[in-house]
Symmetry: D2
Subunit: 284 residues, 4 copies
Amino acid sequence: MSIRLVANSYGKSSIRLTKVTRHADRHDITELAVDIAVEGDFAATYLTGDNRQVIATDTMRNTVYALAADHALSSPENFALDLSAHFLDRNAHVTAATVRCAATPWNRIGTAHGPHRHSFVGGGAERRTCRIRRTRETVAVQTGLTGLPLLKTTDSEFRGFLRDELTTLPETDDRIFATLLDAEWTYSAGATLDWNAEYDRILAAMLAVFADHKSLSVQQTLYAMGEAALEVCPAAGSIHLEMPNQHRIPFNLQPLGKPNRNEIFVTTREPFGLITATLARETR
Amino acid sequence: MSIRLVANSYGKSSIRLTKVTRHADRHDITELAVDIAVEGDFAATYLTGDNRQVIATDTMRNTVYALAADHALSSPENFALDLSAHFLDRNAHVTAATVRCAATPWNRIGTAHGPHRHSFVGGGAERRTCRIRRTRETVAVQTGLTGLPLLKTTDSEFRGFLRDELTTLPETDDRIFATLLDAEWTYSAGATLDWNAEYDRILAAMLAVFADHKSLSVQQTLYAMGEAALEVCPAAGSIHLEMPNQHRIPFNLQPLGKPNRNEIFVTTREPFGLITATLARETR
Amino acid sequence: MSIRLVANSYGKSSIRLTKVTRHADRHDITELAVDIAVEGDFAATYLTGDNRQVIATDTMRNTVYALAADHALSSPENFALDLSAHFLDRNAHVTAATVRCAATPWNRIGTAHGPHRHSFVGGGAERRTCRIRRTRETVAVQTGLTGLPLLKTTDSEFRGFLRDELTTLPETDDRIFATLLDAEWTYSAGATLDWNAEYDRILAAMLAVFADHKSLSVQQTLYAMGEAALEVCPAAGSIHLEMPNQHRIPFNLQPLGKPNRNEIFVTTREPFGLITATLARETR
Amino acid sequence: MSIRLVANSYGKSSIRLTKVTRHADRHDITELAVDIAVEGDFAATYLTGDNRQVIATDTMRNTVYALAADHALSSPENFALDLSAHFLDRNAHVTAATVRCAATPWNRIGTAHGPHRHSFVGGGAERRTCRIRRTRETVAVQTGLTGLPLLKTTDSEFRGFLRDELTTLPETDDRIFATLLDAEWTYSAGATLDWNAEYDRILAAMLAVFADHKSLSVQQTLYAMGEAALEVCPAAGSIHLEMPNQHRIPFNLQPLGKPNRNEIFVTTREPFGLITATLARETR
């Protein structure tokens, strides 16, 4: 019996970039947090500390800023595609490079004359994300979003579930449905798309379903949102969704001498339900 | 020499309430985190553990939900005013009650037919806040906001500052100005206002100044924003602002063989500048 | 082409349990955060909202507290093993149950007479973790820890790495090595062990290597720590380690007229290197 | 009526310093987060953007590292005292300087030969803090700690509190008492002490009281801890304590067919009680 290095990966995380693009009539701003990881022939540094094959993670950081200087940054995906190619093109011993980006949303401040040309207000806590994994033979493009708060005050039931002697939850035909949406979808191999337009279309489709769905379970709504996403974007082959059930628990007013009218709720952070699924397009 | 209890205060923090108000044509949602603290004749519990004068903090929690059931919750201020009065009215030994509320912003999901009637998307990480401190003689109403991200890509200089042998910062006539605005203003005693309208007016005034200001220092912009707030709201007697300077540091591309064009920046979290001031309306 | 549910899983996360075990001479305390997820025949709720097969996540929460009442809680692993079995034993349609536990460390307050019998002080931000994944045929036991801060002030070099035109990092033969250790190891199938003793042995082995290693790279030290862990615990078949490189960057004092003596560093949080590897025991 | 600048303060926050002191037989490590704020004649920058009196916050950052290079850093207090003096000594227009430090605890890794000479493990999430406020006439030294988790499994009652129609909390004669201690004490003017020894003595005194106190209320225990702190340290004139009551709520097992034995608790994060007081030494 011996001990062996069976997998390894390393890189730089949380490389935070702000780029200003100065057009004649307006400034655009891109703010990204970038994570880079490489795999390949790095056993020597793990086993003996021989660093001759090691790309310093500081060099990865430099690379983000240097490439950003010459890049249009029209989408996180385009930037991550080029970044991942950089490491494979330069280093024969790298077998795979994974680049993840998370974009901070900034909205233009509204003025009487329309959106301001160079001043912005934060757009929310959610982040648009992408993840590119590139090998010598393949490149996988995933886009997603993380941490988008959604809430509906009605059209959410939860009934008819299993009951055993450890079940105390009452059935409900009208509850609050609150979540923080995480979604990530995978584009078909070789797709070259208007990544921003696809993102907007998929997000809009998911929001529309969330808003109008007559929910019998979080699972059912999650599935319907994923299905809508794949339907509006034929280039997306699969989608994974995660939706915590951020319970709003009816506060029992009866001990305080007041009727319960399904209006007053305790906002809870934990515990939370966590509902997930992966949907894929398949040949029938 | 002896040891004495010179000040005391206790209460319940992070009481999280969600209320749904069901109108015929739409649902409204209010989500608040409420902190309550009382002061008064509580020395007995500190000194001997005699709890006869102690309002349990669990009772404070119940009170938030019970009062919310009967309350229109038209503004955080109105709710906090009533909550603070409750504790003074019921308890002769309470000399002061402080209630703070922070509201989670929810925006209606947009549809082809306008804003959705009962489905919402999170409105950002910032929070509208209020703080009511009520004694037997006075009631102070403070409103504010915390954590609003703002950024402008130009119209920000920083020059002509003190230089000594520990100064290495270059002067700049065109930098990014990024901050997380915290502001809190105090209404004149006895004011009864449309708290929501005043909030909207003050926030709009501060955003407009931030967007258009030709900034020579963060201090100058902060002052101009505070001044604009007081100018649009005669009922606000003073305002306190805190603005971290969330530095975007130009990344030096020259060692990488590229020119610096003031486009590529390192987004930093720390250290950060922290600029504060209090402005007040005064008789000349 | 059609859209299909290709994977699903749901459960309850952040179920927080405190159990006090009252011995004659002392009290023991166990504090766990438990996450439960199940997989199986749940397509009906995703596709049609038919919940007849759905174990409510609230029932999962109840189960944690009910099982804890009758359980010795001698280790997180033993509790998680029983919890995971519960869901498979009761529900023929569940094909897999995953239970994760993270234990909050509490140390007894020291007194002149030894450790206090019922009073505790927090033991740190790190968490001991376990993860049990049980199917009808298999049970995988993983133990680990997350977030353990480690730092050494010398015996860390980084030299001889790749240099290209984007490389600016100087070589160093004496740097600070600071990290937050995450490790997770997998016990061989069927092992029934004194999980606490194995945990203590593995952690001690990793700490001893970290302390004394002459590090030529973070990778090399990580590998040596993993190797030591597997060597002291024959029942562990593999181990995965993740070590962020939490850079302490020498502050350049020369512009301030002072010599650099490798004593003054900027503590950084981001960006950070992230070094990972998996080691496994193999037949030669 | 006019608007006026009535207070202002600015500075740099979260300046993170690591210093290694290399002794012949061991290395010492100091890790501090430093916040600096100055007050004085800075109206010009607020009102007109005239920065001639402005010490750049970047210079404050440089100052921390430059002073640390020449400083023994024997205690946070000694360093903060010198830092605060620096800004007043150099700048006639500064009227007050406030310096806060929070120290990250590092413990030596234990070995068979005793504590390791240069390798450390994180000492916990709590932080030792100090705050120096220096004016032309005065210097106030405050020391404290923040975020120390404490828990006792018995010797905590809560009975005999006020009951009204909004009170539902049952009385208890045996509950868990869990908190995150924040304390800050003020040394008498002019004291020059072994700050580390005083800190250790006060912390030990508070822990001893917490451990052994027969608590009738959190208030009573807090007061006893503060009293003990002042008793062991005659140089401390007053102390302020804040103790959240991090409720462990008995989980009701009866609906699940099991007896309640005061052993199984839900760990909660919010809402939490927040108990505070200030104690001072006074002439009788």
